[in-house]
């Protein structure tokens, strides 16, 4: 073996953390490469030993879009503000798909990696974070499909607004991470989360204007409706890409506010529970 490395070791103080734990973002920075490796591993492993491989990233949103098109366009004939329904719904399915994967993987991340949690130290935040980020690859693939769809249906993108898209993407990520922080920490102690997730996802889908246009919600309910941050994300995506809706107004700011609230509270809840993860998982 090689000789002792000659750098000055840093000193770690271990003591019980009291009350609202400090966020300890320094450790997160020290372990930043681990986030990259976890995302890389998730992406690499996700479609291993599948026949269709990466095609699943395309098949899933496209099939959902086809079903929606049949049900809500052909049968229910929902209004789409002049946009062909497939493009209209697929624009919403992009952030929604990212959110669902992030929420599900993120919420299960701690329990799924319990051998890591019970054996070694690393900032536990890395697990839900990397689970959420790994959804971005599927998002990118689905985005290419959207571009193709828009060409096919000759929908002109709203060029002047498109620069806002990353901001709405960020809002989707912050929302998903916030909820995943809460649920993953609760899941360590109460596996009820596993049972609740499919139900929660389904319920949330209906409460988000993915299959329908937010304009069908009457004026007086709009603010209440925007308490769901994903409504803000989906409306934002449609506005930025297709130019539908009114653009940022009070409802968007409500969504942003709620999202940040969930995220910050989730961060602190997660940190305060973190000390007992290894004991209760």
């Amino acid at each position: 073996m090689t000789e002792l490395t000659k750098h000055e070791p840093h000193t770690v103080y271990i003591k019980p953390s009291k009350g609202l734990a400090a966020l300890n973002l320094r450790d997160l920075w020290v372990y930043r490469e681990l986030i990259f490796f976890m995302v890389w591993r998730d992406v690499k492993v996700k479609y291993k030993q599948t026949l269709l491989g990466m095609a699943w990233a395309v098949i899933q949103p496209v099939m959902t879009m086809l079903v929606f098109t049949f049900l809500f366009d052909r049968v229910a004939k929902l209004p789409t503000e002049g946009i062909p329904y497939p493009v209209f719904s697929f624009t919403a399915l992009l952030p929604w798909g990212l959110f669902v994967v992030a929420l599900n993987q993120g919420s299960r991340s701690l329990v799924a990696h319990n051998n890591m949690v019970t054996k070694i130290y690393f900032p536990r935040l890395i697990l839900p974070m990397s689970a959420v980020f790994s959804g971005l690859v599927d998002f990118a693939i689905a985005f290419v499909i959207l571009v193709i769809l828009m060409f096919y249906y000759q929908v002109t993108p709203a060029w002047n607004l498109i620069w806002t898209l990353p901001l709405f993407l960020l809002l989707a990520i912050v929302t998903a991470l916030g909820v995943a922080l809460w649920l993953s920490a609760i899941n360590v102690q109460y596996r009820d989360v596993n049972q609740a997730l499919p139900f929660l996802t389904q319920f949330w889908l209906f409460a988000t204007p993915v299959a329908y246009s937010a304009s069908v919600i009457s004026e007086k309910w709009q603010v209440l409706y925007s308490l769901n941050p994903m409504a803000g994300v989906v409306n934002g995506f449609r506005w930025a890409l297709l130019g539908t809706g009114n653009g940022p107004d009070i409802t968007l700011w409500v969504s942003v506010g709620i999202s940040i609230l969930i995220f910050i509270s989730g961060l602190f809840y997660f940190r305060s529970m973190e000390k007992t993860f290894a004991d209760t998982i």
């Binding site: 073996m1 090689t2 000789e3 002792l4 490395t5 070791p9 840093h10 000193t11 770690v12 103080y13 271990i14 003591k15 019980p16 953390s17 020290v30 372990y31 490469e33 681990l34 990259f36 490796f37 591993r41 690499k44 492993v45 291993k48 030993q49 990696h113 051998n115 890591m116 949690v117 019970t118 054996k119 070694i120 130290y121 690393f122 609760i186 102690q189 109460y190 009820d192 809840y269 305060s272 000390k275 007992t276 290894a278 004991d279």
Partner: protein, 429 residues
């Protein structure tokens, strides 16, 4: 000398008995009330106003433990199962937080029990090295620079781009160990209790530990294997029920531990309900493993005789009874069988036994066992007539081989026995 680890009054409290109270319903009404109030309890627990502390039992897995360890020292930690050894290591490696107290650690803590953590079966050996390295806290550049060394050490060079799910378990372990071994922490923590793998692998772990100690790093070593502790450490602490009983030079600490009889293990007692009705009139009462000074112990020394004492009751006279034991290794290989009426004089004298209480006692001579864990099964039968009672796994005990033949070579020996033979060496010209 600077202090590598400074532990001050740490304690760790665990919750016990939660599951028990949770599922003990008496009436359907209780079930319904409990079900309805479950979301409320969940909400309460989440905002931290849990009523747990009042109605659940807490136990101190570790209490008021303090010690300082200087850089470059190797410290052994001994104690029975549940004494708090693993909890202590988990606190030092920051897996879990102490409930009270503080620890100051200078440098990176690495542990050989992290072997293979984060390995993914679908990833290749190469990919897993990077993944595992990152999990252990290595920088990418650090892994790059040690990559070839790691691959050489693991001896899986030609399979390095094969998914590890195709590896044999030996290859898998070697690769995993190779990464952990190249972490080069300032402080190494080894919990042999949790170590996996075969004797060969464990030997490698111990060898690695020796290397690390030689390089002047600080090592904490937990083991049930007293000869390994004696061989590899200069100092040891003895834990019992979460408390530190002593810290002393290793020989002294090991002697104290082995002779303190902290072991209630080492005795098996049968309650009336444990004994099947078909055993009557034979009724087993207890089985004890005792060391030379008559103490009931769960660890015996192979250099001392061991006494096995089986107490039982006969509710009616029995003819042709023989009471005895099977000895086997933990892996289930039989080592020997022996009965109390093996000797012709005892066979004649106790061929028929009156009702009453008996003890059948066997003294196993010194220099029989190799190191490891053994199982004793008991049997009471009348040959060719009937078997009254049998328990294949009545009790288990550990054997410590310090001082046994050949222990000056620090290597494990194959085979369940380690007798002292009369070797002679002649020189022929």
């Amino acid at each position: 000398m600077t202090t590598a680890i400074s532990v001050k009054n740490i304690g760790k409290q665990y919750k016990i008995g939660a599951a028990e109270s949770k599922f003990r319903y008496n009436m359907l009404r209780d079930v319904i009330v409990d079900t309805v109030s479950a979301p409320i309890r969940l909400a309460k627990a989440m905002i931290g106003k849990s009523d747990h502390r009042t109605n659940q039992n807490y136990v101190w897995a570790l209490k008021d433990v303090s010690f300082d360890l200087e850089e470059g020292r190797v410290l052994g930690i001994v104690g029975r199962n549940g004494a708090g050894k693993s909890t202590l290591l988990k606190i030092l490696s920051r897996v879990t937080e102490p409930t009270v107290g503080t620890v100051t650690v200078r440098g990176r803590v690495g542990s050989l029990l992290e072997v293979g953590t984060g390995f993914h079966p679908e990833l290749t050996g190469r990919e897993n090295i990077y993944m595992n390295g990152a999990i252990l806290g290595m920088k990418r550049s650090e892994i790059d620079s040690k990559f070839d060394e790691i691959v050489d050490f693991s001896e899986v060079t030609q399979y390095i781009d094969t998914p590890v799910k195709r590896y044999s378990s030996g290859m898998y372990l070697r690769l995993a160990f190779a990464v952990a071994a190249h972490l080069e922490p300032e402080i190494l923590v080894v919990d042999e209790v949790l170590a996996v793998g075969d004797a060969e692998f464990q030997k490698k772990c111990l060898g690695k530990m020796g290397d690390v100690a030689q390089q002047g790093r600080t090592v904490l070593f937990v083991s049930h294997n007293m000869s390994a502790i004696l061989r590899l450490t200069q100092e040891a602490i003895v834990l019992n029920k979460g408390q530190m009983l002593m810290r002393a030079p290793t020989q002294e600490a090991v002697d104290f531990y082995l002779s303190s009889g902290q072991a209630q293990a080492g005795e098996r007692v049968w309650d009336a309900e444990d004994v099947p009705a078909v055993s009557a009139p034979f009724r087993p009462i207890s089985l004890k493993i005792m060391n030379r000074s008559g103490k009931v112990v769960d660890t015996v020394r192979s250099t001392e005789p061991v006494t096995v004492e089986f107490e039982y009751q006969l509710h009616a006279p029995v003819t042709g009874l023989r009471v005895g034991m099977y000895l086997s290794t933990m892996r289930g290989e039989y080592v020997l069988t022996s009965f109390d009426t093996d000797a012709p004089n005892l066979f004649e004298k106790f061929d028929s036994r009156q009702a009453g209480r008996y003890i059948s006692r066997a003294e196993i001579p010194a220099d029989i066992f190799n190191e490891g864990r053994y199982t004793i099964g008991v049997n009471a039968s009348s040959f060719g007539v009937r078997r009254y009672f049998m328990d294949e796994n009545a009790i288990a005990f550990n054997v410590d081989i310090s001082g046994a033949p050949g222990t000056h070579w620090p290597e494990p020996r194959v085979g369940p026995v380690r007798p002292r033979f009369n070797w002679t060496i002649e020189k022929l010209d």
